[in-house]
């Protein structure tokens, strides 16, 4: 079979995951990643990397379950292996707490994480302003380690990399602080998504903000104050923690991630184009599952007849 050239646009966690899936699975493809930003400058690099999905409105639940389960299982195998520290992938336990009892107490992903249960009364005592909570063990995947690790894997099967500018989506600005608090081992997340504490390998990420259409990459001091105040209320021991730095990232916001294919008419040919973008704050969480989906779409488009070009 003739060698198929595949171009992956974007070298963030979704792009590299997709590139690795294609390059490792389809030996007749030669894959090139083209991007403007690489680790440590991608959005994922600043993200805490906790695997925790949200439910998208327009994608069938079975497909969302598959995206999450495949990402979780893939990363679990790494966490369980000698590669874990190189890849920056490990287990993380903690709580998601709610000020008001949510309508959906047991979300779709509760079966895929470990030991999902409701918090006991004794556990809720620590959070007097919250009425309900969930406890579980999930995976944390730090892109600062994971992306270079994926890149090594990609190059090992002949993948190529080109540095060049790529596409844009609407931003959901997020600010976090990296603090030194090595005694913190469990994550705490407020179910409203705006306050969270995620202990990492060398620092704890505390956040956050969710500012749609906000392109500012500069740190906002008021945001920092708000984050510190809210997080210290949930975890008083943070009051003495040293702030190492602040970081801002722009989540690729979209109502639903776009994982689908189409054809571009280029230079007289129908070129398959597979989209895999718009994961919002769920990039790390869904990277592998959507990459596998994109791989399937790529296979489909390589073997089906493209629609006739309009003359």
């Amino acid at each position: 079979m003739k060698r198929v050239k595949v171009l992956v646009v974007g070298a963030g966690v979704v792009g590299l995951s997709t590139a690795v899936c294609v390059a490792e699975t389809l030996p007749y493809c030669s894959v090139t990643v083209i991007a403007e930003k690489f680790s440590p400058d991608t959005t994922g690099d600043g993200a805490a990397g906790i695997l925790l999905p949200k439910e998208f409105p327009d994608i069938p639940l079975e497909r969302q379950k598959r995206w999450f389960k495949e990402s979780f299982d893939h990363l679990l195998a790494i966490a369980d292996s000698p590669q874990a520290s190189d890849a920056g992938v490990y287990l993380s336990s903690g709580y998601q707490i709610f000020k008001d009892i949510p309508s959906d107490k047991k979300p779709f992903w509760s079966d895929f994480v470990f030991g999902f249960r409701y918090m006991t009364d004794r556990e809720m005592k620590r959070f007097p302003n919250h009425k309900f909570g969930q406890a579980f063990t999930t995976i944390k995947c730090e892109c600062l380690n994971y992306l270079p690790w994926l890149e090594k894997r990609f190059r090992a099967v002949g993948g190529q990399i080109i540095h060049e500018k790529d596409e844009e989506v609407y931003p959901i600005r997020g600010q976090i602080l990296k603090v030194s608090a090595p005694w913190l081992k469990n994550f705490i997340r407020d179910g409203d998504g705006n306050t969270y504490i995620y202990p990492g390998i060398r620092y704890v990420s505390i956040g956050g903000t969710r500012q749609a259409e906000d392109w500012r990459l500069e740190v906002d001091k008021e945001d920092s104050e708000g984050i510190l105040e809210r997080c210290c209320r949930l975890e008083p021991s943070l009051r003495g923690a040293q702030v190492m730095c602040e970081w801002v990232g722009l989540r690729p916001g979209r109502a639903n991630p776009r994982v689908e294919h189409e054809y571009l008419h280029l230079q007289g040919r129908q070129v398959p184009l597979v989209h895999n973008y718009g994961h919002g704050g769920c990039g790390v969480t869904l990277s592998w599952g959507t990459a596998l989906d994109a791989l399937d779409l790529l296979r489909q488009s390589l073997f089906e007849k493209p629609p006739q070009a309009r003359l």
Binding site: S81, D86, G115, T137, P236, S237
Partner: protein, 347 residues
């Protein structure tokens, strides 16, 4: 009233604290002195990983289960205080793994969120088919002991670096009550065939991606003779061995090799961890904790001793409950002395 405490590990220091808390406003003057030949960071308490967890079963020692729970509740209440970081206290979740099903442990109601492990979780640990998950407390001796010493110093407790040769030595110098918190070397002060060293060796490694403690249990090898991995605030403690009767404080390369191999099998990511150092300590093992009063005759007079030693591998776990009990025994002694003073004056 002059109280002399022998031993500056977690037991000695916390006993001094409890006595101060209960009696400093009731007796004046109350002089508390701590005598020890080693202080933090060289005590047995300093080397321990600091995980709050009793042995799986109390074998009928319900007192000990009560003291353990008291300690947990006390530490939990300290978590919300601004001092929690300075005390070295924090929460950590983790796994207790067994090769076969076991009855629920004594501490299931003391810890937070106790549950059985699911099959998917057990798949991560080949060789273990059963176990529990819960959130417990960590209390790091290297931080807690300096904090306790500061706390005591601020309240005028005095410290003396000296090896005490006998209880009589202190009694002769004018001590009203002696509290024996001398741990594994208590036999030097008063022979106790039930007290034996249970040597432990640990390896401290840099592996900050580990966020859960993992303890394995093997009924054939006994407590702590099975691998365990306990992340601390800076380094991870890997163990373990429990060698009864072994007084050797030197690190053993044979133990190191066995501990390391077993731990890497349990947690493959450890293979890439940087080993920082080994440490050896002697747990003061005893069939049960000796926490009781003793009146010792010395010629025409007698003096009071409160024994508080033999806490094995659970000193940090049980310290507060025992300190409070020791304070209660001290209160008994005070009452008797007052009664004595009254009866003497009624002549």
């Amino acid at each position: 009233m002059r109280v002399c405490i022998i031993g500056a590990g977690v037991i000695g220091l916390s006993t001094a604290q409890s006595i101060y808390q209960h009696f400093h406003s009731r007796i004046s003057p109350l002089t508390i002195e701590v005598y020890a030949d080693v202080f933090t960071p060289l005590t047995t308490s300093d080397g321990a990983a600091g995980l709050w967890q009793p042995y799986l079963y109390d074998k009928g020692n319900v007192q000990e289960t009560k003291w353990n729970k008291e300690t947990f509740d006390y530490l939990l209440s300290c978590l919300s205080s601004p001092d929690s970081v300075k005390m070295g206290i924090f929460l950590q979740s983790g796994y207790n793994l067994c090769p076969e099903p076991l009855p629920d442990p004594s501490f299931k109601n003391a810890v937070l969120g106790f549950r059985q492990l699911t099959k998917r979780e057990l798949d991560m640990f080949p060789g273990y088919s059963f176990g529990w998950f819960n959130t417990a407390l960590m209390i790091e001796g290297k931080t807690y002991l300096p904090w306790l010493m500061d706390w005591l110093r601020q309240r005028k407790v005095k410290f003396y670096q000296r090896k005490i040769g006998s209880f009589k030595e202190l009694a002769d110098s004018g001590a009203d009550v002696i509290i024996n918190c001398s741990g594994v070397r208590s036999g030097d002060l008063q022979p106790d065939p039930e007290l034996q060293p249970a040597r432990g060796q640990i390896i401290k490694v840099d592996a900050p991606w580990l966020k859960h403690w993992i303890l394995t249990h093997d009924s054939s090898s006994g407590v702590y003779n099975s691998p365990y991995i306990i992340p601390g605030s800076r380094l991870v403690t890997v163990g373990g061995v429990f060698q009864v009767g072994n007084w050797n404080l030197q690190n053993s390369s044979v133990d190191h090799k066995n501990i390391w191999e077993a731990a890497c099998k349990l947690e493959p990511s450890l293979q890439h961890a940087r080993i920082v150092e080994d440490w050896t300590g002697l747990r003061p093992a005893r069939s049960k904790v000796r926490l009781e009063r003793e009146t010792i005759r010395s010629g025409p007079t007698s003096f009071e001793v409160i024994h508080n030693y033999g806490h094995g591998g659970f000193g940090l776990t049980i310290h507060r409950g025992c300190a409070e009990e020791a304070a209660r025994l001290f209160g008994q002694i005070l009452e008797q002395k007052v009664l004595l003073a009254h009866s003497k004056s009624r002549l």
